[in-house]
Amino acid sequence: MSENRHDRSPRDQESPSLGARIRDFLIQAASLMKGGGSEALDRQRSKGKMTARERVEYLLDSDSFLELDLFVEHTARDFGMDKKKLAGDGVITGFGRIGTRPVALYAQDFTVAGGSLGMMHAGKIVKVMDGARDRLIPLIGINDSGGARIQEGIDSLRGYGDIFFRNTLLSGVVPQLSVILGPCAGGAVYSPALTDFVFVVDGVSNMFITGPQVIKTVLGEEVTPEELGGARVQTTVTGNAHFYARTEHEAFDQVARLLTFLPANSRQMPPAVHWRPPARPITNDIIPPERRRAFDVVDVIRGIVDDSDFLEVQAGWARNIVIGFARLDGRTVGIVANQPRILAGVLDVDSSDKAARFIRFCDAFNIPLVTFVDTPGYLPGVDQEYAGVIRHGAKILYAYSEATVPKLTVIMRKAYGGAYIAMCSRHLGANFLFAWPGAEIAVMGPEGAANIIFRREIEASADPDATRAEKVREYEEKFANPYVGASKGYVDAIVEPEKTREALIRGLNLSRNREYGKVERRHGNMPL
């Protein structure tokens, strides 16, 4: 052995060579990238689910993924955790591109401790969320987790809290999308609930606050996880989810398609593309003139927007109102439309909630609003009143009034009473309001109006039915048309159905985000 350390040749030293270190790193990385191990990955696949890494691979543009924190480890010691090695602590995080546009992404790995959320797992997610905020790019969360990692106690609660807080701070700054590809239960569901759009897959997704076991124990009610919080329930009953897919691939395709309509952040305009005319433009006889007959408003929408391409949102819930994204002249617009086929297109609790949130999302991200109106009013009844139609209905008034993006409205047929006001009338700040020649803007339908206004005459008459019929006709002739509204300037222009697309595009070209002389305030008190 040498006396002097400087006499030692490098070859005598025992530290590994760089080549060996690189080999060692690659072996470790490869092992970590297998998550819970080959067997666990196979088990995931046998359940008809993609693995976390396969999902990231499919969703992102090839070779665009920059993974972070692969080597993060938990620091828990209790309950045998000190002996447990958890690859990536159960979540894959990083940045990548979708359709060449950068996004921040995390994908929970169910094969690692059930994808349970521990402190470091949450810390990884928080890091990419902060990255999304710094870079102002969309955040996509792929949820597949058994929930809080009980062994880490309130450190997992802290983890969820850190995530919810950032979901909120990011809200309206960048689009946030949640894809539910496994269980998402208990507190964990609040992250998706705080994001903008939730994607669910039949037979794969499961969201609920309290699960079937707890419900059985406490309430004695028997219900399967699918019945309680599966994809169908979330897209048709609860309205918690926005997009329904039959397969995971389909869900990812929907994510990619949605992103093409949206800007990366609230400082940007949505991406513009080359305009294309609708495949089947509407004709003047697109809707039945008879006010009581139903029609499918989606046909009208598709007959007006670019390429007849309409991405409907929450198609299965509160179907009496239709919302979704489309383009006019190559630019994204947010569509809100009454659906006469369902509940005559009335407004009610759920449709008000559905429309209001969508309106505010569009307003947050510089997406102009185009509203199509055919509504006879609000849904009457004890159910609605007890469900709070007053405070829920107020949301749509608030959302439209508050919105400063361009607002264009087309009254196709009926616009009665409070619903006329609520469906983006000029009074709520519409930039342009067009009415079709068959439009009827009135306090209510002729039958109801005549009954009230001419009640005494009808009662006093020798033939009340004949008098009523006569009065209904009188009222109809006088008020069931767009001319009264047009004569007052409540309607900017009467436009034929065939000319609507052109009118809307001109209107859009003449509008830009408004700056009202807003009074300074911390924020309004939106009815909720």
């Binding site: 309430l219 004695g220 006879p376 159910d383 339908g445 039958e447 109801g448």
Partner: protein, 101 residues
């Protein structure tokens, strides 16, 4: 495609689809003289007797559920007409426990 039904809005009948579950309160507002269990549980203690007078807010009975003795209170005043359960009974959600008149 489902059959169209008719929905009456302000005396006009609209031909449209009415999704199941739209109208549930077909009997109007709930009968306040009926005191029902809001949750399944066990009757822990009954605090009133038949014929007794109660005022709004009086505790009628204690219903054990979710690790609590839940107070079931009168939402209107009246006389207790019938008590249909006794301490120790296991009750289901919405089960009629007591009537007032």
């Amino acid at each position: 495609m489902s059959e169209f039904e008719y929905l009456n809005i302000d005396e006009t009948l609209y031909e449209t689809e009415i999704p199941a579950g739209t109208f549930t309160a077909s009997d109007g507002p709930p009968d306040r003289r009926q005191v029902r269990a809001f949750i399944p549980g066990i009757i822990h203690e009954i605090r009133v007797g038949e014929g007794g007078r109660v005022e709004t807010g009086d505790v009628l009975l204690l219903l054990e559920a979710m690790k609590m003795y839940n107070e079931v209170t009168a939402i209107q005043s009246g006389r207790v007409e019938k008590v249909l359960v006794e301490a120790g009974d296991i009750v289901e959600k919405n089960q009629l426990l007591l009537t007032l008149d």
